[in-house]
Amino acid sequence: MNKLTVSPSPHIKSSQTTKKIMWTVVISLIPAGIAGVYIFGISSLNVIALSILSCIFTEALFLKFRNKNPKAVLDGSAILTGLLLAYNLPPHTPFWIPIVGGMVGIVLGKQIFGGLGQNIFNPALVGRAFLQISWPIYMTAWKNPRWWPDAISGATPLAKEASTHFSYMDLFLGNRPGSLGEICVIALLIGALFLLVTKIISLHIPLSYIGTVGIITWVFGKDGFFKGDFIFNILAGGIILGAFFMATDYVTSPLTKKGKIVFGIGCGILTAIIRLRGSYPEGVCYSILFMNAAVPIIDRFTKTKKYGLIKK
């Protein structure tokens, strides 16, 4: 008889792995990417490619530098960061914008905390926030869909100076200027449905986030008390992308269902406040980053209730 293997129980395991989870999320983002490239033209593919390459390269460099297994670069997390960063960028930027963003996201957002699972902030959003603060002009140089008469636009639908009227259908299909991956709501929802069906994410964060934004922008909207255009607010910015794909990032969101709901509501309140009262037209990125920082506190106050916790 061969040598018997001795290992602790359990002796069977579920087939789900961290790598599979990461790649599933990557796959779920493909429809939105195809939509973005279709709407803004093939040049926006460069933004996606450069962002992903920058993240993978930086990750590999740091894994080497930290004496980690270089194979970990293929765990899917770096490509996911690159993809999400690209989706948060204007569809047409100078080539070095996604490169710098990817490097900052991976280094300052992830590796300095100790790599996968250790970071406090969503790495893609760290990269995006850095770019937004450093080069606001490039980060707000929006491009119109390629079938519009004028190629360069001044404003996204959320911008206060926006003059064009957008129908809900335009917003739903992505017939509008905006970040590369955030505009086509239907494509994002297809991906989100895939994540829900494969049980990678639950509805706790997206529903509480979107619901909160909807309620606040309805009650306190521009058109008067209880008259706000909440559908516009939900469809127009990056909330769908943020709520389903970025706020749900395991590493940077709370552990329990209760915590996830608190987190979603927090993101929603901040996004609504920034949109209604802030100087930025859009608040998804900073809201999620801010709530990321609150996760340890949320976790502390939203522990699970254990079995048998009753007075004896």
Partner: protein
Amino acid sequence: MAAINFIHPPDFKDIAKNKKIEISPLPKKAILLLSQHTGAPSEPIVNVGDSVKTGSLIAQAKGFISANLHSSISGKVIAIEESPNPIIGSSKAIIIESDVLDVKATVESTPAKDISSLSSEEILNLIKAAGVVGLGGAAFPSVVKLTSIPSKKIRTLIINGAECEPFLTCDHRLMLEKPKEIILGIRLIAKVLGVEDVIIGIEENKIDAIESMNSALFMVKGEGLRVKVASLRTQYPQGGEKQLIKTLLDKEVPSGGLPLDIGVVVNNVQTVFAIYEAVYLKKPLYERVITVSGSFPNVAKNILVRIGTPIKDVLDYCGLSPKLDIHKIIMGGPMTGVAQSNLDAPIIKGTSGILVFDKKFKLKEDELDCIRCSRCIEACPAGLMPCMIGLAAKKEKFNIAGSYEPFDCIECGSCSFVCPSNIPLVQLIKLTKLKVKRQ
């Protein structure tokens, strides 16, 4: 807690569930471990050289939480020494060499016709004398569980036929083949406890066992005993005592407490059968039904085997060829069982199965960092946060790990099962329990 978390591993029960219980041949040598139940080891009352019969008392319960131990074969005591123990590596055992005659000590050949004259106390004494322990796995002495405490009125008796561990089918077969005996056992326990409500919980992947038990209920008809068979969804670890109580009665056993604190006693079906035999046949617990299953369907069996039979003999009888590509041999189920390195280790009272795995069941060894996916939290049937205990334990911060209630962990292994990063969470929790206790 609103509802209990469960997981749904593949059940692998088709491999052995249609195999009738076979009687395994007598071992040439029986290794009877003095410590094969919860509590103090029993104390030998025989010496090397003594002749014993099948069912002779060879070691006595020592203290309240302990159990009698009987010889499982007839023959001669050849040694009392350290022997391989399938759970803890090695411990002291009485070793008996068979005379192949299988001369029975006190066992009656036909069941007693009428036991209604027996008092509760007499029934308890018979159970105690027979060394019956919980056969679901924990091997807790049954007499202790059934001895009433005046301040705690027992209202419900739950019979555990959930058998939620994948692969195992011994309880399933017993319910199919011995339903009347189980019902008679239930009647005995109900009498001892003074309960009128009995629920037999069986998972719906054993639909024939549910029918079988239902068809035997006529035996207690008109006696004032309300026995009900409950069909349960198939989920793990529903056979955990506290989890079964919650699904059947929607009541929770207080943290750190026992089921009797809320007026419930839970007994496994095979324990009930052993109690039936102890009372009706005066038969000590020296054999039990186990499942042999795993990667090789042609060796799968349900067998009645003598306690103390070496694992090797069991596998030989089942026809396991050493030439097969065997990767791992497990005593118990795949979720909580113990991988064996020494096949001389014997079957003990708490053994429910022997699983033989080939390389297909080789587990990945690379462990990744926790990505906080919270799958372990959603899997934990005790409502704990395994990843928090695990992360703190890995950094040796046991005071933090200890603050996440490790002592409520039932060690079912669900957290390790679901973890996509392959973190040995249940081991880290067990480690935390040891470390926190030591401080």
